[in-house]
Structure formats: structure tokens, C-alpha cells
């Protein structure tokens, strides 16, 4: 292989590798200048740690390139499953270290909003709702350009429904639950069916259209949206665990 440090940095030719495992899925994609060269997506609530790097190898091979041809790495930052988003971020940070490439992070909200934006009709508010898997939803609203209009927030579906006004287009794994809560209050909404789970192909396209940060900068932070649970765990092991 050629020296990873000699990867092309010219943005028109810049090839980006992107992946996501922040939700109950695992996906990877390669893109250049907004065009997706190869992509894979699997619904997979568990086992992302086993699947991710082989999948990355597969999309690189399909795109006809290797790590040495890349100009940058992109990853979703969450919110989502704590373990899943860490699998993605740990892999991305290590790839960036091992290749010397810049690392780009996008929130799962931004990736889902970009996926849902084409389905939006004028007058609708685009709202991304991600199921926290702990009973409530992670939420963020976006405008017509898929730019965030508010800071992310967390809330139970019923409370969220009570706080929302106007016509809504929902995206994300929590869209169904939020739609049910809205219906229970006599409200209707639309769901962007193509934007339920974050997809690395969308991330790769987005990130390959934006300027890259410098390599070796501070890595993007995980978006947990929730402090760690500090209730005392059971002892870590009993004899041979």
C-alpha cells in the first residue's frame, strides 16, 4: 500500500469514508464530491463492533480504493445508543490516527434531517425524533435547508407532542412513537419513511461536499445528550466471569 499520509487533499478529488452505528443499524459508504461511490447498510441492533470494519473494507473495495486513497473520515456523533456511537467514534478516531487524515463528525440529527429534507413540503416543520431506548425521545427541529433551528432536547413522546405546533414532517427512529402521541391528541403529521435510521451514504454525501477540517485537530465530541447513569453497578466479576 502507499503511504497513508500522501492521500489527496484536493477537495474536488477528495474521497471520503463515512460510517454510522449510532442506532440499531450499521452502515458505511465512500463518496467523492457529493457522489456516493459505494455504500452498505444493514439493520443490526447488536454486533456493530464485529461488522463495522469488515463492512468498511467491503465498501472501500467496491469503490476501488483503499485507506491510502482517502482524504478524510466521517462519522456520526449521536445521539443514539451510547455503545453504538462509541463503536463508531472509537473506530473513526483510530482510523484518523492511523492514516493521519482529518476526522469529520455530524450529529445523527443532521444526517437524518438531510435524508428527510427532500420529502418536506412548504410550510412543514422538519423534526427529527430519535428513540433513546430509555423511554423518551431525543429531538431537534430543522429548517428548509436542513439546518438546525434549535438545540437538541430530550423529552417523553407525550410531552413533546403537547409542545409541538403546526404541520410536522417527522424523521428518525422515534417518529412512529411521536406520531402516535400526536394522534392521541387529535393531531396528524407526516413521517419521512426513508429517514428512520441514520445512513452512512447520506453522511458521506454531506461530508464530501463540505470543506475538511485540518488533520490532527481536536476530535469531534460524542453527543450523548444524557449524563452517565451512576447507580452502583453489580460487582464486575465473580470468579471467572
Amino acid at each position: 500500500m502507499s503511504d497513508p499520509g500522501s492521500a489527496p487533499r484536493d477537495s474536488a478529488a477528495a474521497i471520503l469514508l463515512a460510517f454510522d452505528c449510532s442506532g440499531p443499524s450499521c452502515s458505511a459508504a465512500v463518496a467523492r464530491g457529493g457522489r456516493v461511490l459505494a455504500a452498505a447498510f444493514e439493520t443490526r441492533p447488536r454486533g456493530q463492533g464485529e461488522r463495522l470494519l469488515p463492512m468498511v473494507g467491503e465498501v472501500l473495495a467496491e469503490a476501488g480504493c483503499g485507506y491510502a486513497d482517502l482524504a478524510g473520515i466521517a462519522v456520526t456523533l449521536g445521539p443514539g445508543s451510547f455503545t453504538g456511537l462509541r463503536i463508531g467514534l472509537a473506530t473513526a478516531r483510530a482510523l484518523a490516527l492511523a492514516t493521519g487524515l482529518p476526522l469529520v463528525g455530524r450529529t445523527s440529527f443532521a444526517v437524518l434531517a438531510a435524508a428527510a429534507a427532500p420529502a418536506r413540503v412548504p410550510g412543514e416543520r422538519l423534526l427529527v425524533a430519535i428513540d433513546s431506548q430509555r423511554g423518551d425521545l431525543f429531538l431537534q427541529g430543522f429548517d428548509a435547508q436542513a439546518s438546525a433551528t434549535e438545540a437538541p432536547w430530550a423529552c417523553a413522546a407525550r410531552e413533546a407532542a403537547a409542545r409541538l405546533e403546526g404541520p410536522l414532517l417527522l424523521a428518525g427512529s422515534g417518529a412512529g412513537r411521536l406520531a402516535e402521541a400526536l394522534a392521541a391528541q387529535g393531531r396528524s403529521c407526516r413521517i419521512a419513511e426513508a429517514a428512520q435510521l441514520p445512513d452512512a451514504a447520506v453522511l458521506a454525501r454531506l461530508a464530501s461536499l463540505a470543506p475538511l477540517p485540518p488533520a490532527g485537530g481536536p476530535p469531534p465530541a460524542a453527543l450523548y445528550l444524557r449524563p452517565p447513569d451512576t447507580t452502583q453497578p453489580a460487582p464486575p466479576g465473580r470468579g471467572a466471569r
Binding site: M1, P4, G47, G49, E50, R51, L52, L53, P54, V56, G57, L60, A61, C65, G66, Y67, A68, F82, T83, R86, I87, L89, A90, T91, R93, A94, L95, A96, L97, A98, T99, P219, A222, Y224, P228, D229, T230, Q232, P233, P235, P236, G237, R238, G239, A240, R241
Partner: protein, 361 residues
């Protein structure tokens, strides 16, 4: 042969590079350990989610520092090893993915290391010890006696039926208000105490097997504390020191008895007296080491213990275990599953095979 090792299975984020020396043993080229002690101290124990977040925040930097200190580029490595279990799975995954990613980029073999095998093989790195040996593995999560007959070849003689010994130290430290982590705190307090003042039980002593039990001892300490408080009010420094010393003496006597049983069985089965190796965080306790040296000597065996810094979790032991497997021709695929539970006896000896790792594209 030079191997990078990554460890993130509990509350230490660590990365190290080791190389095999001519002849036996190895050389540590770098060994970076970042303890998360302060982050967990307010909770009196390791909080898994805090640990996992901290590992993600620091492990790549520690790897970069370990490589820089070793004066090596990734291309100059012969392999990348990472702990993939047993341990707190959120943290394990962070280190495992870090190791897999570096191996993938540079087309190096990846070795999925069992954390306990890292502890078990450390004396071969530091002392060039030959197989077989008897291993007493004592840490916050583990307490077991094993015959170590080769890389991946472990036979368990006995293990704890309840608490690990390090866990007992932590709980007693909490009862005595000595702080966290309990091991060093109890050892410090015990140094000035009278080990005969409080009569505490010696659980399992005299039993024909090689098992342990510490929950009854912990309960006895609690009752002794309650009685002392009832009689004379809050524990003074003297009482705390005496209780710590009495507890530590009870642990020492139990470990001696269990190790003596295991040494006899080892000698009968393998035809040699030891050596007895003690590893794991609790092996850093000087008073317990001295007690074990006595029992080894009585059996005609030598006691071998890694230096204290290599008894607690570190990356060098992971790098070394990876190196031992690699030089026997073993490597692991990038889809290797990280696991919270992974007893040593489930390991197998490496069978030289064509390597299965993915070559660089």
C-alpha cells in the same frame, strides 16, 4: 517482533509497545497508563458508563504517545493487540475497535487478547519464566488458581465462590472509611495495626479443594465495626488500623492455605514444585506477597511476581500476550466479538494457520 497493546477493560486506559528480546523475556518500549481513579472516586467504585466515556476520550492519544515514546511508526509494528474481554463491555469495545482500526489501515495482524491471559503471561515478559507454572490471579474482579501449561493452556484449580479478593479489600476500606481504591488504603492502614486484636474467620481454610470465599470475612469485619462502635463510639485511628491489619492477616492466611493446596496438586500433576506466580492488582500488596513467598518456600517453590506497576492493569501485558500468540502463528479476524465474560479455560492454544486478518487494500 514488536506489538502494540491496548487495554480499556476496567478503569485504566492504557497503551504500550513491547518487543521480544533475544532469548527469553521481552522489552517494554513504552507503557502509558491513564488511571480514571478520580472520575470514579465519588461513587466508591467503577461506574461503567463513566469508564467507557473516558476511554473514548483518551485512548487514541495514549496510543499516539506510546508509539512516539517507542520511536516507531505503525508500519514498523508486527501486530496490534487489544483486550476484547472479559471486562466492562462499553470500555472493552472502545479499545477493541481502536486496535482493529489501526490493524486494518496498516495491514497488520490483529490479536484479540483475553485480559486475564495478559495478567497470566506477564512474568514471561518480565522474568522470562518457562511453562508450566502455578498462577494465583488476584484482582478486583478475579480470584483464581490455575495451572498455566502454555499460551492458551489453562486449567483452573479453584476460584472464588463469591467476592473477588480485591472486591473484599474495597468493601472493607469502605466500612473503615479508608477511601477508594481499597487495596492500597487497607494496606497503608494495616501497616501500623495489630493483626491479632480482632478475631476474624479464615473462610475455606483447611478445605481439600482450592476455592475461595470472602463474603463471610467481609461480613465479619462489618460486625466487628458495629460492635466496636457500639462499645466505644466512632472508630478511632487505632481501631481502624487494627481492623485493617486483622482483615489483611485473615486474607493472607487464606491465600497461603489455598496456594499450599494448589502447590501440592501442581507438584503431583506436573512433577515440579511451582514456580508460584502471583498476578493481578492485589499482587501489588507487599504483605500478601511476603505471605505467599513463605508458603512457596515451604513447598520448595519460588514465588515470582511482576513489579507492582505491571500487576495492575496496563497495556504492556496485552501487547506481550498478543506477541506470544503472534509468534505461535495466531491472529484474529476483524469481526472478532468483544465479550464481557471470557474465562481463561475457554481459551485454546494457538494453532499455526494462515493468518485471517484482512490485508490492507
Amino acid at each position: 517482533m514488536r506489538v502494540l497493546g491496548i487495554e480499556t477493560s476496567c478503569d485504566e486506559t492504557a497503551a504500550a509497545v513491547v518487543e521480544s528480546a533475544a532469548g527469553r523475556g521481552g522489552r517494554i518500549l513504552s507503557n502509558r497508563v491513564l488511571s480514571q481513579l478520580e472520575e470514579h472516586r465519588p461513587f466508591g467504585g467503577v461506574v461503567p458508563e463513566i469508564a467507557a466515556r473516558a476511554h473514548l476520550d483518551h485512548v487514541d492519544r495514549l496510543v499516539a504517545e506510546a508509539m512516539a515514546e517507542a520511536g516507531l511508526g505503525f508500519a514498523e509494528l508486527d501486530g496490534v493487540a487489544a483486550t476484547v474481554g472479559p471486562g466492562l463491555i462499553g470500555g472493552v469495545l472502545v479499545g477493541a475497535m481502536t486496535g482493529k482500526a489501526i490493524a486494518a489501515v496498516h495491514g497488520k495482524p490483529f490479536v484479540a487478547v483475553n485480559h486475564l491471559e495478559g495478567h497470566a503471561l506477564t512474568v514471561r515478559l518480565t522474568d522470562g519464566l518457562d511453562f508450566p507454572y502455578l498462577l494465583l490471579l488476584v484482582s478486583g474482579g478475579h480470584c483464581q488458581l490455575l495451572a498455566v501449561e502454555g499460551v492458551g493452556r489453562y486449567r483452573r484449580y479453584g476460584s472464588t465462590l463469591d467476592d473477588a479478593v480485591g472486591e473484599a479489600f474495597d468493601k472493607v476500606a469502605k466500612l473503615l472509611g479508608l477511601g477508594y481504591p481499597g487495596g492500597p488504603a487497607v494496606e497503608r492502614a494495616a501497616a501500623g495495626g495489630d493483626p491479632a486484636r480482632f478475631a476474624l474467620p479464615r473462610p475455606m481454610k483447611g478445605r481439600p479443594d482450592c476455592d475461595f470465599s470472602f463474603s463471610g470475612l467481609k461480613t465479619a469485619v462489618r460486625q466487628a465495626v458495629e460492635k466496636a462502635v457500639e462499645a466505644a463510639g466512632p472508630l478511632d485511628e487505632r481501631a481502624r488500623a487494627d481492623l485493617a491489619a486483622s482483615f489483611q492477616a485473615a486474607v493472607a492466611e487464606v491465600l497461603q492455605d489455598r496456594a499450599a493446596r494448589a502447590l501440592a496438586r501442581f507438584a503431583a500433576e506436573l512433577g515440579r514444585p511451582g514456580p508460584l506466580v502471583v498476578a493481578g492488582g492485589v499482587a501489588a500488596n507487599r504483605s500478601l506477597r511476603a505471605a505467599l513467598a513463605e508458603v512457596a518456600a515451604a513447598a520448595g517453590a519460588v514465588l515470582v511476581a511482576p513489579p507492582p506497576g505491571l500487576c495492575t492493569d496496563n497495556g504492556a501485558m496485552i501487547a506481550w500476550a498478543g506477541l506470544e500468540r503472534l509468534r505461535l502463528g495466531a491472529a484474529d479476524p476483524l469481526d472478532f466479538r468483544a465479550r464481557p465474560r471470557w474465562p481463561l479455560e475457554e481459551l485454546s492454544a494457538p494453532v499455526p494457520e494462515p493468518a485471517q486478518w484482512e490485508p490492507a487494500q
